[in-house]
């Protein structure tokens, strides 16, 4: 499989890839503004707009199937039996979650990039209201009493509680970092909220997450179920009797050096089961040697509690668990065994191949069928749950041809290129963003140069890459380096790498919610901007060019693409000379500094800048530092 065996061949190949990338990017640029890989243009000029289904829901009557299409910003209404399309309802940008009101008359959709909730009248299948919310709404659930609507906000780490009649926000409940998915318990008395980024923990300690449990009667947080070692939580499901809950999660092994992929040493893909059937929550691994359930996302339990299904985005399959066997294993082996690759053989009974990046899972017909939304194929897999076989693959209307961007996105989300199919780019770049973790990568030596994972939004034209600036361009970053040190395999051909690079270059920044819509900064932001751009300190002494915020963090993306020593070198670092990171959406991408040692923006300067090497800041008062941060939040 190795395509690049010699150094000269590698150099030639990299050059070729760069050239191909340049061509592809030029073609792509010609197609006009592209904000998503879901939309691009074929060489024939046809607009390729991909549905990208992520979630599904049956109408209360069971006759209609609502399919949430993230790429086209639609709810597609299908016949629940034939899957024939009945209607398309346009909602907002990048919708991520949907749910029905208790009486089924209203369908709510969370539009994550528009900061809106679309309210759809299910009788006439049209949008009856669009409620402004904020902070990247990613999931929406109506309570059974019709009193409140709950919205998980990914970037403010909370759940907004809205008046169900007016959509007015009444309060916010603190949830986990990157709050994204809400599931109601079967009796609707509680809501369970997971989050996609780990809660902040002290440097070089294991990540932690939680399931935030909301008491619906009081609309307050009742408790938090701790998920130790889990960095990224996804969907939760329950058995019909409510006694068994299961949460899909990703358990990174980021404390030891990332050099043991061949030993299953990068991630544990797992579910955490909880409820009276199990007692204390237990994390259960899904992986087996050479069979990895990469990035578990959607979960569903059959009504008879015999099977638990888990969609796995990276391995492009559905992992099937025998629930009674799983419960027997849990009771016979108290505690969590997330990294035990021999455990899952006790309860995983099948791994069913589906399409690219499977997301939502929905049981039908009394649990005899499972529908899976294949986001990057625009299809739904229909699985017979008695035989664990795909009985049909339902295509959603749309282009059948893959664009370069679409190919690149598939490459980004799959795990097929890594050794034994263990990980993919999206393992560390959750939904093409970041993971909030620090990793000990091998090339620098074990225990050396432990680095914080940098976000990749708007990463185009911010080369060089890596904290030490060692990779001159994205083909190098995404290609040979990734293959060698992450994938432990050299599987990309030139076109695959080109597709991947074009996709990564296309990633737009998510909307910045701190930037005033009218462009007029608040007084604090304006004062902060002046501090950011100042050339003299408060004592009227000139600030050296390299010590001004606005010099290193210049330009639209906040980097002059040069390296500086900002005084943060640790004994374990090989160099203190660090590439200047871009500032895109800096407020939500903590922790900060090259090794993630600053948990907050404030700490960059209150703790880690004693000698004013990271900008002249020690002359500032607390008020002024707050102003500077208010400005940074607008970047």
């Amino acid at each position: 499989m190795s395509l690049l065996r010699s150094g000269s061949a590698r150099a030639a190949a990299v050059t070729a890839v760069v050239l191909v990338c340049s061509w592809a990017i030029a073609v792509w640029k010609d197609s006009g503004t592209v904000v998503s890989a879901a939309t691009s243009r074929a060489q024939t000029g046809e607009v390729l707009e991909y549905a990208s289904p992520v979630e599904m829901l049956f109408s209360l009557s069971g006759r209609q199937l609502y399919v949430l299409c993230q790429g086209t910003g639609e709810v597609r209404v299908l016949d629940a039996t034939t899957y024939a399309e009945r209607k398309r309802i346009q909602v907002g940008r990048s919708p991520r979650g949907l749910s029905l009101s208790a009486n089924g008359e209203l369908l709510y959709v969370a539009n994550s990039w528009d900061d809106t909730i679309s309210v759809i009248d299910t009788k006439n299948l049209s949008v009856s209201a669009t409620w402004p919310v904020s902070a990247e709404p990613s999931s929406v659930v109506a309570d059974r009493t019709g009193r409140y609507i709950y919205v998980a906000n990914r970037i403010s780490n909370d759940v907004a509680v809205l008046d169900a009649r007016t959509g007015m926000e009444e309060k916010r409940l603190a949830a986990g970092r990157g709050a994204s998915y809400i599931t109601a318990s079967p009796d609707a008395s509680k809501l369970y909220v997971t989050h996609v980024y780990p809660n902040l923990t002290p440097l070089r300690t294991a990540p932690e997450s939680e399931i935030t449990v909301i008491d619906v009667r009081r609309a307050v947080v009742a408790e938090r179920i701790a998920l130790p070692y889990i960095a990224h939580g996804f969907h939760v499901t329950f058995s019909a009797d409510g006694n068994l809950g299961a949460a899909a999660g990703l358990h990174p092994k980021n404390l030891p050096p990332l050099a043991h992929l061949e030993h299953g040493g990068a991630f544990a893909d797992s579910i955490t089961v909880f409820g009276s059937d199990v007692g204390q929550p237990v994390e259960l691994p899904l992986d087996e040697l050479e069979r990895y359930s990469v990035r578990p996302f959607g979960v569903a339990i059959t009504p008879d509690k015999s099977r638990l299904f888990v969609t796995c985005g990276g391995s492009e399959e559905v992992t099937v668990i025998d629930v009674p066997r799983m419960l027997r294993y849990v009771h016979a082996h108290p505690g969590s065994h997330a990294t035990d690759l021999s455990a899952s053989a006790n309860y995983v009974v099948a791994r069913v191949k589906v399409g690219h990046d499977p997301r939502g899972a929905l049981l039908a017909r009394g649990g005899t069928k499972l529908l899976v939304a294949n986001r990057l194929d625009d299809t739904m897999s229909v699985i017979d749950t008695r035989t664990n076989r795909v009985t049909s693959t339902v295509p959603l209307a749309g282009p059948r041809e893959n664009s370069v961007l679409r190919n690149g996105e598939q490459t980004f989300y799959t795990a097929r290129y890594s050794f034994q199919g263990q990980i993919g780019c999206a393992n560390c770049h959750i939904d093409s963003t970041f993971d909030g973790l620090q990793w000990d990568l091998e090339p620098d030596g074990f225990g050396r140069d432990i680095v914080d994972n940098r976000p990749i939004e708007a990463v185009k034209d911010t080369e060089p890459y890596k904290w030490n600036g060692g990779n001159p361009n994205l083909p190098t970053e995404c290609g040979p380096r990734t293959e060698k040190f992450f994938w432990r395999a050299e599987n990309y051909d030139d076109l695959t790498l080109t597709d991947l690079v074009v996709y990564v270059r296309s990633l737009p920044p998510r909307p910045n919610r701190s930037r005033p819509a009218n462009g007029e900064f608040s007084a604090a932001q304006e004062r902060g901007r002046a501090l950011f751009n100042r050339t003299t300190d408060k004592f009227h002494n000139p600030i050296a060019e390299g010590n001004r915020c606005g010099y290193c963090h210049s330009g639209a993306k906040g980097t002059n693409q040069k390296s500086f020593d900002v005084g943060t070198k640790r004994a374990s670092d090989n160099t203190g000379l660090l590439d200047t990171p871009q500032l895109i959406n800096i407020a939500i991408t903590g922790p900060y500094l090259h090794d993630g040692s600053a948990q907050t923006l404030e700490q960059i300067w209150t703790v880690f800048n004693p000698e004013d090497k990271h900008g002249r800041t020690n002359d500032l008062t607390k008020d002024e530092l707050n102003d500077l941060i208010e400005y940074l939040r607008t970047r």
Partner: protein, 378 residues
């Protein structure tokens, strides 16, 4: 100039004593008359009576030094010098820095009634206790102005904080911090001891700078301190805020009444008129007041260094262990300045009162030597 200030200060410190002596001569000292239970006047009988149950480390309280107390339904939070105590279902649970608390010494507490979250001001920052998780903010990891948080009050989406270096406000929606100090308010000193926030007004008790008022609608500041601007205190009764060294404030939005405590007496302001309360001419057991909790325009509770006091607009009642014998004591002072002892068998754990909160008709009292639950008696 400095010498002048010192002399002036000395004279000022003497002044209350002189005034008190003069007042006693003219008004007359309270007349104490022992009365049998059947002999009690109706106004004495009408004053609330409590059976106090006291908590100390002996029965699970984290520390006997209790700075504050907060009632949240059936749950009682105790801010102690050695952790945050939660009394629930008859048991105490202690939160410490190991659980994420910003500092072991907890000074202030506030409940976000909408979310159920509890905010705790400590000697090392501000903590939010939410569903068992503690998030802590300090001056290094957040925009909090100072780590010593004397007071906290939650109103809507805003957490208002009184610190040793100014006041600040944390916006729960945007996560932005706003700082208030001598640079952007009329705050002459920045040692902020207490805060009381409502949708219309936010009041700050600023040690040495009187009472600061923030109008939430107009976004304007106003300041109440000594009327003449020189002496730190009123020279004549009811001229204004009794003293600039304020320790606690309680604003009742419905009544538009603000109660203010100082170390030199207490005050009430209705937006037009001030009323001052001093030991010499009221039933206040001591001018040294740590905390005031208003009930309405005419009713308020006071925590002093010499006991817990209640004012019903006319009469005063004091609950404490006797300053001489230590025995439980309840005394009622009526409009005629007649003081009537009422026979009681329990009293707050100590006479140095630091915090007060209410649970229906019951009262919880934080003292320097334990937490007390005053159970209302018929």
């Amino acid at each position: 100039m400095k010498a002048f200030v010192k002399v002036a200060t000395f004279l000022l410190l003497l002044a209350p004593t002189a005034i008190a002596v003069q007042a006693q001569a003219h008004i007359g000292a309270p007349r104490i008359k022992k009365a049998a239970a059947s002999d009690l006047k109706p106004q004495v009988q009408a004053m609330p009576r409590f059976r106090f149950e006291n908590f100390t480390t002996a029965n699970g309280l984290p520390d006997d030094h209790v700075f504050n107390v907060l009632v949240d339904g059936d749950r009682i939070w105790a801010a102690t010098e050695n952790g945050l105590g939660l009394y629930e279902n008859g048991k105490w649970k202690t939160y410490t820095t190991k659980d994420g608390l910003a500092h072991r010494a907890v000074l202030s507490l506030a409940l976000d009634k909408r979310t159920g979250d509890v905010w705790a001001g400590t000697m090392g920052g501000l903590s939010r206790i939410s569903g068992g998780r503690i998030d802590s903010f300090n001056q290094l990891n957040s925009g909090l102005s100072n780590d010593v948080v004397y007071g906290v009050s939650v109103e809507g989406e805003h957490v208002w904080v009184a610190t040793a270096a100014g006041a600040c406000m944390f916006d729960l929606r945007t996560h932005a911090w706003s700082l208030f100090n001598e640079r952007n308010t009329p705050m002459a000193e920045i040692w902020v001891y207490g805060v009381s926030a409502t949708p219309s007004k936010v009041y700050f008790a600023v040690w040495g700078s009187g009472l600061l008022e923030y109008d939430q609608q107009k976004k304007t500041w106003d300041k109440y301190d000594d009327p003449d601007g020189e002496t730190e205190m009123v020279l004549f009764r009811d001229q204004g805020l009794i003293h600039e060294i304020t320790t606690s404030v309680s604003y009742l939005e419905k009544d538009k009444i603000v109660w203010v405590a100082t170390y030199f007496g207490d005050s009430r302001y209705d937006g037009r008129n001030w009323h001052n309360f001093l030991t010499k001419d009221s039933g206040l057991p001591s001018n040294f007041t740590n905390v005031v909790k208003g009930v309405d325009a005419n009713h308020a509770w006071f925590g002093t260094d010499k006991g817990l006091a209640y004012y019903d607009g006319v009469n005063w009642v004091v609950y404490r262990p006797s300053l001489t014998s230590g025995k439980p004591e309840m005394t009622v002072r009526d409009r005629d300045a007649q003081v009537t002892p009422v026979e009681v068998s329990t009293a707050p754990a100590h006479n140095y009162i630091l915090g007060i909160d209410f649970q229906g008709s019951d009262i919880w009292v934080a003292t320097a030597k334990g937490l007390s639950h005053g159970i209302r008696q018929p």
